[in-house]
């Protein structure tokens, strides 16, 4: 029993770390192009994709679900791009219109699909690492979500490796890339595709909030303390790993222990949602860094500002 628990903890943390690292790559691209909320939009809009895939294929096979969800993700960003481009709507509002509409149609589709299968919309929003990992651990194999997250990480890493310089150019100055004849439109589709795949694969494991958090918070933390792109990737990765580990420990030991202590043993709390605490820890790391960078003026951020003022 104890071994099984340790194994479970191990795989939860491994999954969390792989998800965090996989998210860093699209995360940096999104944050630097001011599209951080896209992850949020996609993760909501995935619902109709799942429902449609199920209604059309009649199975809950993973491959169908993934295809449906990825297409829905692409559709979200494509649609909001079209609304911005042709309707001249503020990008934020366009994304809002798109994902609200898609989520609503997802709710209705699910109502019809629910005759045949139990698809809980809440599951989409607050997936849980624990339940996702349990299957594999009980069977004594590597949990599916874990190797899924690791495969995703490898995919994202290879994209970053092969297209690093093009991605940098595109995010820094897409007008220049266009003037040099690069297929800027298709490259943007590629970035969106990576974001969609990442969001979809991760939210199955850890829920959409963890995905949005891991797409933005580690990168933002890194941006506070570094101005070099390479170190931003490294720092974001480290923040993600730290948040995953401390988050899970908080969920399993920290908070239950504290509750137990403060209520003098009157309340007994088992472990909490690990994805929730991982996000909370990521947020705490970010806030601490923000405060430190301002209070002590240790980091290039604050130094630079003084240089500019002179």
């Amino acid at each position: 029993m104890d071994d099984a628990m340790n194994l479970l903890d191990f795989w939860i943390m491994v999954t969390g770390i792989a998800v965090a690292l996989a998210c860093v790559i699209p995360g940096v691209l999104l944050v630097l192009t001011r599209q951080s909320m896209l992850g949020d939009g996609i993760s909501h809009a995935v619902l109709p994709g799942l429902a449609l895939a199920f209604l059309l294929s009649g199975s809950r096979d993973m491959i169908w679900m993934l295809t449906g969800a990825c297409l829905a993700g692409l559709f979200t960003s494509g649609l909001s791009y079209l609304i911005v481009r042709f309707g001249n709507v503020d990008p934020g509002a366009a994304l809002g219109v798109t994902f609200c509409s898609l989520f609503a149609s997802g709710l209705i589709l699910i109502r019809f699909a629910s005759d045949k299968v139990d698809l809980d919309p809440n599951c989409v929003l607050y997936g849980t690492v624990e339940t996702a990992v349990v299957d594999g651990v009980i069977n004594g194999t590597i949990p599916r979500v874990a190797w899924q997250a690791i495969l995703l990480l490898l995919l994202n890493l290879s994209v970053l490796f092969f297209f690093y310089k093009e991605l940098v150019m595109l995010t820094f100055d897409s007008g220049f890339a266009k003037s040099k004849g690069y297929p800027v439109g298709w490259m943007n589709v590629g970035i969106t595709l990576i974001t969609a795949i990442t969001t979809v694969l991760c939210f199955e494991a850890v829920g959409s909030i963890l995905v949005i958090a891991f797409l933005s918070i580690p990168v933002a933390t890194a941006l506070l303390i570094s101005k070099r792109l390479v170190s931003i990737f490294w720092i974001s990765g480290l923040v993600g790993i730290a948040a995953s580990i401390t988050g899970h420990l908080m969920a399993v030991f920290g908070i239950p222990g504290m509750v137990n202590y403060f209520s003098s043993g009157a309340l007994v709390i088992r472990s909490l949602s690990s994805s929730g605490t991982m996000v909370a820890m990521a947020g705490v790391l970010f806030l601490t860094t923000l405060l430190m960078s301002r209070l002590f003026r240790l980091y290039p951020n604050s130094q630079m500002r003084t240089v500019k003022e002179d």
Partner: protein, 461 residues
Amino acid sequence: MITPLLGDLLLLEWSQLMRIVRLEDYNTRMVFLGTATFSSLGGMVGTFLLLRKRSLMSDTISHATLPGVGIAFLFLYGFTEVGKSLPLLLLGAGISSLLGVGLIQFVRRWSRLKDDVAMAIVLSFFFGVGITLLTLIQQLPTGNAAGLEQFIYGKASAMTAGDATFIFIAALLTTLVCGLFYKELALLCFDRDFAKAKGLPTELLDFILLLLITVTTVIGLQAIGLLLVVAMLIIPAAAARFWTHDLSKMMWVAMGIGLISGMGGVFLSAAFPRLPAGAVIVLMASLFFLISMVFGTYRGLLLGWLKHHRLSQRIRLQHLLRAIYEWLEKHGQCGDILDDEFGIHDIRPFRAWDSGILELSFRKALKDGLIETSKNKFRLTGNGAREALKTVRHHRLWELFLIRYADTAPGRVDRDADAIEHVLEPEIIEDLEKALELESQAKRIPTSPHFIETISRSANG
């Protein structure tokens, strides 16, 4: 998936339908009142939010309510062991989302991070903390905690009279505040820097706007659900933008779209109980957005495309007529006598035509009866000659206007206008005419005020 819906429709009897439409059901009446009020309120407040370019703020604010609810519940639980007191939970939600708003401002001010990252961080961080608290609450030894989420993020179809009255009063108060600060908020949304320069407390106004959004969100969350709140704050306002650029009109349009979507959604979901009311309302609003985007009279796509198509076509025809006139002019014709014959190849050297455009323009001119053809040769018809004269005169007047009034001209040149007289003041036209007269006294149609390089180059080469 259509079959069950049809089944509902068949089961639905006329009398039932009338009951719904006449709002005889007490429950339906309450849902109707509450939802309609909220949807139009969302349109009103959302308009400010849209123009301030912060639509997604509603998403962040609504997600940021969760930890407040959790903490309020735990607080209550600690004292009373009950925990479910609606006003206090909502107060917690409100405080929590205000903290979220504060954190966004704090992040923006203390770092170089942009708006979108700040929103994503606060959204996910607060929601993560909220989820943690909820899983903690679920383990408390009280049956009362179960379904706290549903209790807070309610459903439109389960609305009670108390909820509806609450929404109504809150909506009245919000509208009052909106009315009081209307001028200031309008200025803030249209031009923040200008508002600041005029000495308005922009920070305070931003806070008031976000406070309004927070109040709207909190009252909406409990009554009609999170999704609907976000959607109603974004979609109607975004749709209204396609119809008008006038703020007060935009607000009315947004309120109208919200109202109709809200009412329509409630009717539909009452008629088809399988349809979740919130989602139907959102989809109705989305439908309005789609219609507005295509058919809108201010920024609609159809109108834009039509205008652009017309502009390109007119410009091409004007190019053709001018080229023909210039060819005729070169061959010694001017004024009313414009009856020389010409071929396509004669006209081609006068401009850089995109491939196939010259032939296309000839065909269009033939169809419009501006030119006539015989034996591969063309000539201007009477109508065509008049049009050519007018086009060339306009063109040269505009050219002259551009040169003589260079400081103000670029913004005002509108070659597409049917008559220059509709755009420019009579004095200016008089002045331009005089200038033209001076340059070419003998001719009714002036020659081009400067040397036309294209002609000379192509004529020589």
